[in-house]
Symmetry: C2
Subunit: 296 residues, 2 copies
């Protein structure tokens, strides 16, 4: 089996990880966290989302977090948007990468954005137009690509259709997200087999959650299919903070530990990421669900 020699990690802890936490961190605390990750060698960090501050209070200071980012072009800082209003806010900041995210699940789409999948797709098109006018790079992501707790199964044809639309529209990266941690090795293989031929040279990334304990197994399956872009979260931050042990994103340190064992480089010092996780765990007042952050 021949894997990629290098895997590109997008650290999503400051966004996907923190957004579920009850304790709202100060902009200064977030900035220290982001600087710690950059110092560990992380090449991409998702730092904020432009969503309604009433719905996600943790992300209310998105503009301030972006203003405080370290002045480096070596790191792909990104922010998530779900609608045109969010995109307009994002474009008033200096953030270089903007994620345009829509869902493959009708129920999840309505819950998350108040739009049907097709409405969200039309909105995404306008969002991408604006981002490109403003000279930003776009990460297009498809939530619930591997299933949804509300609808159980998502048709491969639906994921393929949305991926095709995003690719044709000209995103700079495509991400299939396992928002609810329902992916399995056969589902990963099936979706990637449908999407990769359309993507050509475009890098397709996976955003995996460990909700059902299969996060790293799915990552292995994707590696076997040539995938070399993954979203991870320091300490496995994410998931529901009110259920101890309920898992979130796959943990950055655990992912790197696995990749190291396979001789796949990431350029990241996972001991430094672990130090940031331990600090964050103390700050949040609870254990994280990753394993290696305790041991490095």
């Amino acid at each position: 089996m021949v894997f990629a020699k290098h895997v590109f990690i997008t650290e999503v802890g400051p966004r996907d990880g923190l957004q579920m936490e009850k304790l709202v961190l100060s902009t200064d605390q977030k900035t220290r966290l982001i600087n710690g990750l950059v110092n560990a060698g992380v090449g991409a960090v998702q730092v904020a989302s432009f969503v309604h501050p009433g719905k996600v209070p943790q992300m209310a200071d998105a503009e301030a977090v972006i203003d405080a980012l370290p002045p480096t072009d070596a790191v792909e800082f990104s922010a998530l948007t779900l609608n045109l209003k969010g995109m307009e806010r994002a474009c008033r900041t200096t953030i270089r990468w903007i994620e345009v995210s829509l869902s493959a699940s009708e129920t999840q789409s309505l819950k998350n954005s108040g739009m049907s999948v097709d409405e969200a797709l039309a909105e995404a098109s306008a969002m991408i137009d604006l981002a490109r006018q403003e000279g930003r790079k776009v990460r297009g992501s498809i939530q619930c690509s591997f299933g949804c707790v509300n609808e159980c199964e998502i048709e491969v044809s639906q994921v393929q259709r949305l991926a095709g639309k995003l690719l044709n529209k000209g995103v700079d990266r495509l991400v299939l997200a396992d928002t609810t941690g329902m992916a399995t090795p056969p589902a990963v293989r099936q979706n990637l087999a449908a999407v990769l031929p359309m993507a050509g040279d475009f890098p397709v990334g996976l955003h995996l959650h460990d909700t059902r304990g299969m996060g790293l197994v799915n990552l292995m399956t994707a590696l076997e299919m040539g995938i070399s872009h993954f979203d991870t979260s320091l300490g496995g931050l994410g998931g529901c903070p009110f259920v101890a042990g309920a898992a979130g994103n796959i943990a950055t340190e655990d992912t790197i530990h696995l990749l190291n064992s396979l001789n796949i480089a990431t350029g990241i010092d996972h001991a430094k990421v672990a130090a940031a996780s331990r600090m964050l765990s103390r700050l949040l007042g609870h254990d994280l669900t990753g394993k290696m952050y305790r041991l490095l």
Copy 2:
């Protein structure tokens, strides 16, 4: 990739899972737990170990637990032994399967049994002789087959030598144990490639821990090499109970969830195992580290 169509699970929660718990369960509580597992369709349960009760108080009632086992031949009940004294105790009970366990690590061997590896090997030989005289089936297991926290690396030749000795002595099953959760996919492949040709038709099983988050990834790797015997623990019970989130054995429910997704049968109703895990979690007063037991 062609996997086995059926995987045989040995549930080790009542032994490996419970032995680290501070709260000592009553024999009745253990019996209810074991009956719940049998009722879920588990085909093998490790129910006790014959070790010094001062060292592992949780296992002090081994004889009583075995006396209370349900009268069925359909389930392989086993107990663990580390020395001849333990084997003699085991042979005075009706337990049908006895595990003879030694370590590939000198340091771990001395710590765990007070013997060097070669002394433990000679002792194992006498233990197996006695078990066979008494008409018992023997599980031979090699602890720390994939590394040891004290010595870091264990030579493949050491694992191969010990496996050869156990096989020649005539064990009925051979188990390579990742006692400290240090296995990686390349290490799993390397050890199995060394041991499988010697084992021939003997079933070789793996006993995996999720200490470093790689338990199910290692299981996938072993499946790819044709392995179809695994030890698991309900709810991922095991590891250190004083460190919240520190993982133990791979969780029975999570393992079955993965196997189901691959169309591999186990004959076990993992929702029933999950119900037992939730009961056990309440009894022990802490969360378990498995994922699926909350969701089934």
